[in-house]
Subunit: 656 residues, 2 copies
């Protein structure tokens, strides 16, 4: 990183302390099977392993320290890697000798489990050494490798650990030797993208071109031979490594078309955004205009046609996948936590590629809504699926909704989300600003101090705010150079109005691509930004059939929801009149501090409990009801209850 | 049957001629693999056999006439039995020597495939003779047997065939010997109810108590040992007969509770209504008040909490099953054709048990909507799933909707529905009237003549009508006896108004349990009934979350729907104002004759094609639109297009 950020924000430091003090120790205990918890399946599927994590034990067995069999998913190793990466980031803002020692030991353990030639994967090392790289569609070997490389790069950057770096390079060198277009190399890719990001990061750290080239090979090779996995499976003949995956179409893996011809978001949502994260980085790094255009097209398709208002993506549980434009069911969707995390990764790379605030808008939307919804306020319970509508008894009794959990489990059979949340929150300092050679972008409003150099001179930006509780943001910019610094401050697309002054004088700067562009000269300057933060109604594009006649309420970046604990059951009966005014109240005592929105609405309900199923007159009872809403991210923190984001809106006058 | 009915109705005779002239020959060709057609899977599932039917060939192989392997579902035999039963019924209204000969030959073939001891199932005889009755949860052996017995009883009743009866008795005797509570007998039931109905019918025909007792054993044993299937599977150890079924909960088979304790509709919808059909017959036949009460409770739960307005049942594709009260999604449901056919069977038995018109109301609803929707107007294309909302591209691209087909296939991998439709339509004469010892019920308004004896005297009722096109119905009752005949004419629950006169004089008779009770004395009398048949709006109970703010349009028994061929795409954007008037026009030239309903509504649509996904203002275009609707049963007869039953209704005044 060519800049340094210290976060001092109340809202986010609560989360970052949670990562440090609760999530890292808790997840470490889980990975070591040292804590008695209830591991739930993320959906009703007999093949999901949910007895224990066993992730550290798998490494011990692979390293020859203990004896036994591998347990868990074939990608169980990645839980350890993501934990390690998260631990590394916490050391950057909360040094801890004990944690450093544990992390060093984990790296030693991983290095011991690594094979002589650099190969690293406990499942295949322990269980099926003869099937390495023979089922790349399912095996996740390169996916896991990518996660280790990412973790090692982060750990090296923050602690200087040479062991982490050398282990990662040994693995990367092995992969670069094994995969490629030359004779004797495997010309193929992993079913789940991630190695590409790992290699790109290792390239940025080391400058070693081989890593860039192999990352480029994996990305540009994708979809060139859509039958690669089938051929591998036919050659291998063994039993599936993950049962059922072979049923999915090639879109599932983004293998249906050569990557540069892809122009829509298809298949498994996490895979797609992981692919795009690396693709945007590659496009920028290699100045590949064609790949940059591919990234733009896929981005546009996601955010203008296939994204929930909460920043969730993935409309179906089957394949955890995208479906088609404007297909956004609110109660059967997937909206995996990891997918929105990946969308933020993708956005960050796009910001680096081009200074357009739309990327930061979506980053903020995903971060403040679906990502935070992925964990409980206690940091020890996690959602895999983040619905926009839940009725607990439907989750229990309608098998098409069995994946939609009304309460966050302590852990999941496939535990990709919890450590992914930890690594994103612990590295949040990397998302607030984008520092480019010729300009600085301010993407997120988070109280912090950023230091970087601009044309050889030090620049310090101090951001003071209590956002999104409050819309007043002050930037103190200390510029020691002589060249004017172009400072681009994002004006969120949700804001109807804003005011900005520089050193007390109202600015007439233009908004270009969503950024207010200010030029800062030498010395200390004060920029005051005011964003209108009123409660607003949002409507979906009429092409979204599920949201016709419905309204969502938001204030700033927070999308709101109604829970039955506040509003009684049968939330689908709540109706917000078009003209109802919103009251906003800050409640420090509630849910670690939330702004509560109340609106005078009504509720329709059955005339009597055992009334007929169909009637030719509207024999409904209408009852006035104060509708109370909380920010979406804070839902399901008060026990099992109904939740709903999109509420019915009545047109015209309603007589009660 | 203690009465005889001749149907002379235009609407229904078109269908009955279709059964005779198209469906029976077409299905016979399919069962013999003598026609080249596209057999579709009813849902996206690799295990569904869809290369051919092979059903007749299976019998030839089992009989030793040809050599080969069994192909198709383990219950493939039942397709032949249901075809045979349908063929039998057609002979009752359209005698055909050639068909009689073919049917006789089929019975000879079946008898040749029957084993010495009476056992009959081509899959087990050919493929796994050692596993007979060892996997009753999946094997469908008794299910198939029940269907053969039903067919044989019908064929014997209509043609007098002794071979049919003796073959059925041999099979029934074998089953009664094999199953029961005595030592050496199997104390268990079939996973799919049907043998119970077969045995009840054979008992009613022959008076042989053993059949009644064994039917009672199967019904009363159900759910007593919920682990019976698991124990069988553990003992058997072989591979599943149908893969995946073992994952379903015991509710799937109605095995979760002893049958007399069941009070809600659970599990696989077809199984549940088949069970209830036999249960209601048993309750009446054995005067079992407790079982009658169970039937009433399940009926009430289905029709007041778990049934679509079209008479469809089964809210989820997973297990083709019921889910929970008021859970009625319109686009992911199952609503299998066979389930609504089974609901009609159940209703018929309930009418026999007690004279309540609610049974006939539901019978009519299911018959005129979901059942007829199950087949194309040409009689050669069939739906398995009957949705209330279809968008073809969602069926194609959203895997959660892959079972919802927008166009009827020529045949289905699991072909239960096509011959089931044939046997129901061909035996429709059995549903119009219920003749009891002390009264006659008129359930359906279908032009016909019925003859029966009442206290030793002949009664003839001639029904003249052009229903449901027209609401004027005339009954001519010729009563030769001296005792007054209580004639109960159903006043449909959907009718707001009616008028009835006997011999020209307005009657003051009471409506009791939905039936207008008239007493007919000796001689010929004319009863004139007028039913108000205006177009009406229907609303779902507000507990149905999917239908809040929506309206369904119906006229008489026909529920209406909008198709995009008439209204353009994106039907979800259509909005019916509360005050819009309906125009009704009979169109003899359209869809074999339908009444078309038009209403002045409007449509909301996106302001521009590439507009934003979420907006804080309603930048929708509102456009006036004449909304045109056709009866639901006739949908999907004009190519692939969108369809929707529940339309949005606007409250208050709408400015365009």
């Amino acid at each position: 990183m060519n800049y340094k950020v210290r976060i001092s924000d109340d809202f986010w430091n609560r989360y970052r302390n949670l990562v440090k003090q609760e999530m890292i120790p808790y997840q470490w205990a889980v990975l070591n099977d040292a804590i008695s918890i209830n591991i739930e399946k993320e959906r009703d599927d007999a093949s999901i392993p949910n007895e224990k994590s066993h992730a550290i034990e798998n490494f011990k067995i692979a390293a020859g320290i203990t004896k036994g069999k591998h347990y868990g998913w074939v990608f169980q190793d990645s839980d350890v890697y993501k934990w390690l990466e998260a631990a590394a980031y916490t050391l950057s803002y909360a040094w801890d000798d004990k944690l450093k020692k544990t992390a060093d030991e984990v790296i030693d353990l991983i290095a011991s489990a690594q094979e002589e030639d650099g190969y690293l994967n406990t499942y295949f090392s322990i269980m099926e050494p003869d099937r390495k790289y023979k089922r790349l569609g399912e095996s996740h070997e390169l996916y896991c490798s990518g996660h280790f490389i990412e973790a090692a790069v982060a750990y090296h950057e923050i602690t200087g650990s040479e062991k982490a770096l050398s282990t990662a390079r040994k693995l990367a060198d092995h992969i670069c030797k094994t995969f490629g277009k030359n004779a004797g190399q495997i010309r193929g890719v992993d079913g789940h993208e991630e190695i590409e990001t790992g290699l790109m990061r290792l390239y940025h750290l080391t400058g070693e071109k081989t890593y860039l080239n192999t990352a480029g090979f994996f990305l540009r090779e994708r979809g060139k031979d859509p039958h690669f996995f089938e051929k591998q499976t036919a050659d291998d003949q063994g039993k599936p490594v993950i049962d059922g995956i072979h049923k999915f179409p090639m879109k599932y893996y983004q293998m249906h078309l050569p990557v540069e011809l892809q122009d829509s978001a298809e298949g498994h949502a996490v895979r797609l955004v992981y692919m795009c994260t690396a693709l945007a980085d590659l496009a920028k790094t290699t100045h590949d205009a064609k790949l940059a255009e591919t990234c733009r097209k896929i981005w546009k398709n996601i955010t203008e046609k296939r994204m929930y208002i909460t920043g969730g993506i993935g409309s179906t549980v089957i394949g955890e996948a995208f479906t088609l434009d404007y297909d956004l069911p609110n109660d059967t969707m997937y909206c995996e936590t990891c997918a929105s995390i990946g969308l933020i990764f993708f956005a960050r790379q796009m910001l680096s590629l081009e200074s357009k605030a739309e990327y930061a808008d979506v980053m903020e939307r995903a971060l403040y809504n679906t990502v935070l919804s992925g964990m409980a306020l206690d940091g020890k319970h996690f959602f895999y699926v983040n619905p926009l509508e839940v009725v607990p008894k439907k989750s229990e009794l309608d098998p098409g909704k069995s994946h939609v959990k009304p309460v966050r489990p302590q852990w999941l059979g496939c535990a990709c989300c919890p450590p992914n949340l930890a690594r994103l929150l612990a590295s949040l300092d990397r998302y607030i600003y984008t520092v480019k050679e010729d300009e600085i972008l301010i993407n997120l409003f988070i109280r912090s101090t950023m230091e970087c150099t601009y044309r050889g001179h030090t620049i310090q930006i101090t951001q003071s705010c209590d956002y999104p509780k409050d819309g007043e943001i002050m930037f103190t910019v200390d510029h020691t150079g002589t060249d004017e610094l172009p400072l681009k401050i994002r004006i969120p697309s949700w804001a109807d109005g804003y005011k900005c002054s520089v050193d007390g004088r109202q600015t007439s700067a233009d908004i270009i691509n969503g950024y207010l562009e200010i030029r800062i000269s030498i010395g200390e300057h004060r920029v005051n930004l005011h964003l209108d933060l009123e409660v607003k109604r949002w409507y979906a594009n009429p092409n979204v059939s599920e949201d016709v006649g419905k309204v969502a309420i938001a204030r700033g970046p927070f999308v709101y929801c109604a829970e039955s604990v506040d509003n009684g059951e049968n939330l689908h009966g709540l109706i917000l009149p078009e003209e109802a005014k919103a009251d906003y109240e800050w409640r420090a005592d509630l849910l670690e501090g939330v702004g509560v929105i109340s609106m005078q609405g009504f509720r329709i309900m059955a005339y009597d409990d055992d009334g007929p199923l169909y009637e030719s007159a509207k024999r409904f009872t209408k009852k006035a009801q104060h509708i109370k809403m909380i920010p979406y991210y804070a839902w399901a923190n008060r026990g099992e209850n109904e939740m709903r984001v999109w509420l019915h809106e009545s047109m015209g006058e309603v007589k009660l």
